[in-house]
Subunit: 194 residues, 2 copies
DNA sequence: TTTAACCTAACGACCGTTAGTTTGTTTTTG
DNA sequence: CAAAAACAAACTAACGGTCGTTAGGTTAAA
């Protein structure tokens, strides 16, 4: 019975709350209930542990978001996008994976900056592209302001990041306040006047 | 001729790029051109150095933003707010103080979390309150959507954080792309249809 | 009998910090 | 006005602790 996944879970939590440099292998090992050098039975280095955790977490988050979009495919786009923002906001409070991912996208370990961004940026680009494509579908494009699908897509990810920012340095409560203020503004801004 | 301000400047730069835990007193001293213990002639501890830098930086940034708002008091509010967003975005690239402040508002040193947030949160609250007040002035309130001044103010800070987020994990270029997409959406969302 | 997962012991490097000293400039005093 | 005292800002040396990491041994399952 290997503790590799336990190490990853504990490391995830500590990386999320203390950062890469702030979370030491000693504290990780303590929390797992093993000795520090035992970590090296599973990972070549601290950086290797981090990258392993990061890859796993990014993969899962991709799937979750894709799944959420698929489940809401029948809904009007603004309902589905609102739900997604709400979900991400709630996840930041309840889910260490989301906190980890967000923190490390903003401020990755200096030595791993390029490697991390090389994984994250394609994901962001793809997400924005697929969102643009979805908003460009006939049933949505007709309801959009002439500004177009791409403008609405970029504005959306900006709004999401703005709400998540408040979830980071504020709280779920204040982030929810932001969401309920910005969402009507966003909708009026992207929907065509009828 | 004391090197205290030099120490603060160098620490600011390293804290901004490597984080509090990632920036060591040894490296700071090296960059200043003094020995590590000499720092203790000016600061009681690393935390003390950090707090000193943080206070100074927050004070300056407050003044800058207040000044910017005052200078643009004659303009239509959406022009002044666009300019402010642009300014903050540019500052993130060119000004280490802005990078430091933003990073430490998101993820302050764990042990100083409450102290830092105790300084930052009042500032954010005041900024939002004054923005709401400004948008509520007769010459602006009449041009606003019935949603109201407070909604427009909260939506604005959300947009700013969204643009700055892209400045952090992307670049000035991609952040500018966001700004030019989100701004028309924001304006349509907060202005009354004529 | 090999292999995987842990262990203990210990490494050198660096961490933040303290003690005590030197040096050069102010400030006070005879 | 010159000597003395005080002070500020640097220094060297070194502290105990923690960092990530390696070597090598034990144990139990395959």
């Amino acid at each position: 019975m290997t503790r590799k996944p336990v190490i990853e879970d504990v490391a995830l939590g500590l990386f999320a709350s203390e950062g890469f440099e702030g979370a030491s292998l000693g504290r990780i090992a303590d929390a797992v209930g093993i000795r520090k050098p035992s970590i090296y039975a599973h990972f070549r280095s601290k950086e290797d542990l981090f990258l392993s955790v990061f890859r796993r977490t990014l993969r899962r988050k991709k799937r979750q978001i894709f799944q959420f979009a698929q489940d809401g495919a029948g809904l009007p786009f603004e309902e589905m996008l609102f739900g997604l923002t709400e979900r991400l906001m709630d996840d930041y409070e309840s889910d260490a994976e989301t906190r980890f991912l967000l923190r490390m996208c903003y401020f990755p370990p200096t030595s791993l900056h390029d490697k991390v961004m090389g994984m994250v940026n394609p994901f962001f680009r793809q997400a924005e592209r697929e969102l643009t494509r979805m908003l460009g579908q006939p049933e949505n494009a007709g309801r959009l302001h002439p500004g177009g699908a791409q403008e609405a897509a970029i504005a959306y990810v900006t709004v999401v990041d703005g709400v998540l920012a408040e979830a980071i340095y504020g709280s779920r409560r204040t982030a929810a306040r932001r969401l309920s203020a910005v969402w009507p503004v966003y909708c009026r801004g992207v929907l065509a006047k009828h």
